[in-house]
């Protein structure tokens, strides 16, 4: 008798769990607003990426064409793929001291996996992740970018 009771109880329990599962999916099908996929090329104008989205590495410049990269090379060391190359040069300051500054911050987008390690490790917060995502090009050489703009110089007050 006890076995029969257990058997019937297991049937009712089984049906109840199945109904619960169907409730979950039924909840979604009657609410079209929960759809998360988007029609990509159509919604290009109003498409907005999340803040944490990692598109590519860029170096922000202020209005006086100044950046805060000291050319220390920490990002180059930390990059696991070797997608960053730092070419530095030495200049002579007015007081006669020699100083190493950045000449070219070369970034190979084609090798980058957007791991964010270079940005995490940058001591002067000179580089950030941009939210651009349309990187398709016909010519592979276009994926190699120089991040510091020509004629730019280091911002005042950046710790070296």
């Amino acid at each position: 008798m006890k076995a029969l009771y257990k058997y019937i109880l297991s049937i009712i329990k089984g049906i109840w769990t199945l109904v619960q599962g169907m409730q979950v999916t039924g909840h979604y099908i009657i609410r079209p607003k929960t759809i998360v996929t988007q029609q990509y090329p159509e919604n290009r104008d109003k498409l907005k990426m999340f803040d944490r989205f990692r598109g590519e590495v860029v170096m922000p410049h202020n209005e006086y064409n100044e950046h805060s990269c000291t050319g220390c090379g920490i990002c180059e060391i930390n990059c696991p793929n070797g997608s960053i190359e730092i070419i530095s040069k030495t200049i002579v300051l007015p007081d006669g001291k020699k100083k190493r500054i950045i000449d070219k911050h070369i970034y190979h987008l084609s090798m980058c996996t957007m791991c964010n390690l270079c940005i995490k490790n940058c001591p002067s917060e000179a580089i950030v992740m941009a939210q651009t995502f349309e990187h398709a090009v016909w010519d592979r050489s276009k994926l190699t970018k120089v991040l510091n703009k020509s004629g730019s110089k280091i911002m005042e007050g950046v710790k070296e």
Binding site: G21, Y28, I29, I35, V36, T37
Partner: protein, 358 residues
């Protein structure tokens, strides 16, 4: 739209006025055959589209959207692609059986569709043992499955076929028994009489508790018999061993695929015919006004509305429940559905004897 027998009679009279009875018969057969083939092909395409859309909405996606408005032409594009694929045959495969298997699988829905009452007077073939015919003919499909697995010269196909065969054969029992439950209530196996018996109320309401149990057993067993999820372990598409039709390509694979979807329609149509009153409108007691409004909707819409509702329910199952293992499938059938069904038949017989139904 209300009574198709006037249309079919007009065709019959028009033909027999010009031709001998034999020629009339032959032309009518051809008309029916072409209609059925067209219907199966188009409804199969529609069902594939519907499945993809329903699945997408269950999973918070949009589904096909690119080909045609809302992706309506997607399945036609898929079909053209399948037609153009190369037909591959494994080395040392049993050629004759290998080519025969898809046709045996696809013949089943064509045979079964002949007894389905689409609307008043729109039934190809109405004979005394209609429901019995459906259950026995639908068992032929398993031969196609086994042949496909055996003739492919592939161990995994053979194992997949054996599993599929075991599954279909076991669930055949539940399908048959749940239909018998209603045959007791209807007192007939003839499809037209079963439909007529639901004039006042559909059998699912008329037989109350046992009929509802039988309905759900039928839907579950029908889902399993058509090899659909959550019982679709034989054709887990993303897995290496896709079951009995691994070795098939192109249009032969499409035949298996089409057969699955048409079988889905067949299961829904039989559930509709036997439990939900086929094309009978919904009548409620003595509310004459309400009943007259319901009569106003053409029977063919009633039929397809109910069929699509059952199809939606089965799709809901597929995209909600996780796939079962083979031992779980067989345990569900032999330990649960079959005992429930047998007890249910006894209850139904008792209720019919006592006249407790509505």
């Amino acid at each position: 739209m209300y009574d198709f027998s006037s249309l079919t009679e007009a065709i019959h009279k028009g033909l027999s006025a010009h031709m001998s009875p034999v020629a009339t018969q032959a032309i009518e057969w051809v008309i029916i055959g072409v209609t059925v083939i067209l219907f199966v092909a188009l409804f199969g395409l529609f069902l594939v589209y519907a499945e993809r859309k329903v699945c997408a909405f269950f999973q918070n996606r949009l589904g096909p959207m690119r080909v045609g408005p809302w992706g309506l032409l997607q399945t036609i594009a898929d079909f053209i692609k399948l037609l153009m694929k190369e037909l591959i045959q494994p080395a040392k495969a049993d050629k004759f059986l290998y080519n025969l298997a898809p046709f045996i699988v696809i013949i089943v829905p064509f045979l079964t569709i002949s007894v389905i009452p689409f609307a008043k007077g729109l039934q190809a073939f109405d004979f005394d043992i209609g429901v019995f015919f459906v259950t026995s003919v639908s068992a032929v499909g398993v031969i196609g499955v086994l042949l496909a697995g055996w003739s492919s010269n592939n161990k995994y196909s053979l194992i997949g076929a054996m599993r599929s065969g075991a599954q279909i054969v076991s669930y055949e029992l539940s399908v048959g028994l749940s239909i018998i439950t209603i045959a007791i209530l209807a007192g007939s196996l003839q499809v037209s009489q079963i439909v007529e018996g639901q004039q006042a109320t559909w059998f699912i309401f008329k037989g109350h508790i046992p009929a509802v149990i039988a309905f759900f057993v039928f839907v579950i067993a029908g889902t399993a018999e058509t090899n659909r999820g959550p019982f679709d372990l034989a054709e887990a598409e993303s897995e290496l061993t896709a079951g009995f039709h691994t070795e098939y390509s192109g249009i032969k694979f499409a035949f298996f695929f089409l057969a699955e979807y048409v079988n889905l329609f067949i299961v829904a149509a039989i559930a509709t015919t036997v439990f939900l009153g086929a094309w009978m409108p919904f009548h409620f007691g003595h509310f004459e006004g309400f009943n007259r409004i319901m009569d106003f909707i053409p029977p063919i819409f009633w039929f397809f509305g109910k069929v699509l509702a059952v199809i939606f329910l089965i799709m809901w199952f597929k995209w909600t429940f996780p796939r079962l293992r083979i031992d779980q499938i067989l345990a569900l059938e032999w330990k649960f559905l079959l005992p429930i069904n047998l007890v249910n038949i006894l209850i139904m017989a008792f209720i019919v004897l006592k006249g407790w139904h509505f």
